[in-house]
């Protein structure tokens, strides 16, 4: 049995398919979900504030600077621009996590697609009609990242090889490969710096009239809507959900697991590739070696907080965009490295799992302690009584 077993991560579904008992009304249900989503963020902000205090900074000033740098006086537009790659990565992760498969190679997929886009963009936007070149570059990025998931996908689908290892390793390879490409064939000969040719400003993604926000953000929102529709309103979405809930049941109802796993992987990679295209064509215009924003690392918590619901992810991503845009300024003001935001995100993840646990216990009407732990705590007392 162990030889044919496919390893599909924990069989207990993630936060996704939590059906509350009927004794709760709809309003209570919504309230419950709101509490479970927002409390972890608040707790993380409080804990982060305590950490700031310990480092000798005033957390209130820090958080006020985040608001100033992320929302006020037009900087909300910068936050909105950051949402483009974030949303697309979130979409890519939601698709694959719903199938309860771990695509942890998002950094490599993103970076390789970004390298190819910035490598080919200067030539393509010069030779072809701009709209055509742009569409082509988006497709190129999507195809690159999708292709990069193919090896883990096939290994997972055919042999059940753990996708955490394979996607991570493919990610390491992609990061090195991107660096090789940037130094080699894509290197801008006019500069000694290891970077690609800068795309002329007028050839980058156009802005939405009246703002600085590029249309890549609209592409991201459109992708979110499409993914939401596909995941919740089509049979393919349902199949993904069944695969995520119980792979054995999925096979039992006649779903072709290998094909579904591979297509889920390709979709995930494609969306992550689009994120790279939107980021390069909309914001940066070139890429340099060593640049690895690792967006996905910080997006994961919010994908879970949104319970793998594509629409619910949008407010969280908006929040995080403000946090990261304003956080850069606040950290600068406070003389802290921006890596402080990583601490906040890590704390959000930790508090989220705890709150999720407490919520599930409450709704099952169980004690907040796990049975094993209760046993462990009770055992010494019982023993004393017996003695």
């Amino acid at each position: 049995m162990t030889t044919t077993r496919t390893i599909v991560g924990p069989e207990a579904p993630l936060a996704a398919d939590l059906h509350l008992p009927t004794k709760y009304g709809r309003a209570e249900h919504v309230l419950d979900i709101l509490i479970r989503s927002i409390v972890p963020i608040l707790l993380a902000l409080v804990a982060g504030g305590l950490l700031l205090l310990a480092l000798g900074h005033n957390p209130l000033i820090f958080y006020r600077d985040i608001w100033r740098g992320g929302v006020e006086s037009g900087s909300w537009q910068d936050s909105a621009i950051r949402m483009a790659p974030f949303l697309l990565i979130a979409a890519g992760l939601t698709v694959i996590f719903r199938a309860n498969i771990w695509n942890l190679g998002y950094n490599g997929q993103f970076l390789l697609a970004a390298a190819l886009v910035s490598g080919y963009a200067p030539a393509l936007v010069g030779d072809l009609p701009l709209w055509f070149a742009t569409v082509l570059l988006f497709l190129l990025a999507g195809a690159t990242a999708a292709l990069w998931t193919l090896v883990p996908a096939v290994l997972k689908a055919r042999y059940g090889t753990n996708e955490i290892i394979t996607t991570l390793m493919m990610s390491f390879i992609a990061i090195d490969l991107a660096s090789i490409l940037i130094k080699g064939p894509f290197h801008d000969p006019t500069t000694p710096l290891p970077q690609t040719e800068v795309i002329p400003l007028e050839k980058m993604l156009p802005s939405i009239p009246g703002t600085r926000i590029h249309v890549g953000v609209l592409v991201a929102f459109a992708a979110v809507l499409v993914v939401h529709f596909v995941l919740t309103r089509t049979s393919w979405g349902l199949r993904i959900q069944i695969l995520g809930a119980n792979p054995r049941a999925a096979r039992h109802v006649g779903i072709k697991l290998p094909r579904l796993i591979i297509v889920a992987f390709l979709t995930s990679g494609f969306l992550i590739g689009l994120a790279a295209a939107a980021d390069i064509l909309g914001l940066w215009g070139y890429i340099r070696t060593g640049w690895n924003p690792a967006y996905g690392d910080t997006i994961i918590p919010f994908v879970f907080l949104a319970r793998l619901n594509m629409l619910a992810v949008v407010p969280f991503i908006a929040f995080f965009s403000i946090l990261s845009t304003g956080g850069d300024l606040a950290a600068q003001q406070a003389g802290l490295p921006t890596d402080f935001l990583l601490v906040l995100v890590g704390l959000i993840l930790l508090f989220m799992t705890v709150i999720e646990y407490l919520g599930r216990r409450r709704e099952l009407g169980e004690s907040y302690l796990s049975p094993g732990l209760r046993q462990a705590l009770r055992a010494p007392i019982l023993r004393r009584r017996e003695a």
Binding site: F172, D176, L336, D339, Q375
Partner: protein, 319 residues
Amino acid sequence: MILASQVWTQLFWTTLLSGGLVAGTPLMFTALGETISERAGVLNIGLEGMMLLGAYFGFLGTYYGHSVWLGYLCGMAAGIGASLVMVVLCVWLGLDQIVVGIAITLAGEGVTSVLYQTHFSTSQPLLGAVPRDPIPLLDQIPILGKAVNGEFPLFSQPLIVYLGLAFAVLLTWIYRSTNVGLNLRAAGEKPEALDAAGVSVMATRSYAAMATGALAGIGGALLVILTGTFQPFLTQGQGFIAIVIAMLARGNPLGVVAGSFLFGISLSLNDELQLIGVNLSPEVLHMLPFVLIIVALVLFARRAYLPPALALPYVRGAR
């Protein structure tokens, strides 16, 4: 001319072997740790964060305590501290091990980077060179033992390197012929059976996770002590590489030693190749082992074996 080339090749082999060993040792400690918790059914994705915490506190210990051993101790303590989060949330409460692991990695990256940059960014202190402990007699063997041009050969390494190798052997014995080893494996293969045998699954998994944290902490501290300074994100994914090595070695400590040594060589090969005048891009060398593993996985896809109960929380009485 012939003489010169002979010296170069000898120097090349000396540095290749010792460089591989030195670069591979932090990885070896961490990956050995991962085999322990993996056997017990706890998938520790937070190794990267634990290594970084171990590295930072190992740096503090060595810098302020003026002793590498204090550094290892501090690194170990930091690793255990981080693993306690894992113990409470994943083992006791049964929360998702992968989510908690990612959280530990992120928080570890952030905390160490912030602490280092607030306290040391202006001074950027360096640790002293590591004391070397040549093995008597063996250090007389050419290439393997005799120092060439100030390069330290295989048998003149810091004591901790030998301790690590000895620990791998010890671990093999523990896994193979002790009750502790059997309990660990049962906790990962069939926790119900272990429970029925009257051994606490919770306790077994808790100690396993803590041992992993301790070893990852030592691995991080080693990384700092061998490179001589701390830098934010200095592990560069080595925590994840350690997970890969542990999985591919199927939890076999000696396999882990071999894997870490190979990775160590590929990590340090760049310097050696430059010594003999070959200039290969560091990226190519860096990705080579990963490419090899992927090719190996495609060819022998069934080799990576994981315990059936890995990453699954144990709930007594659940189906």
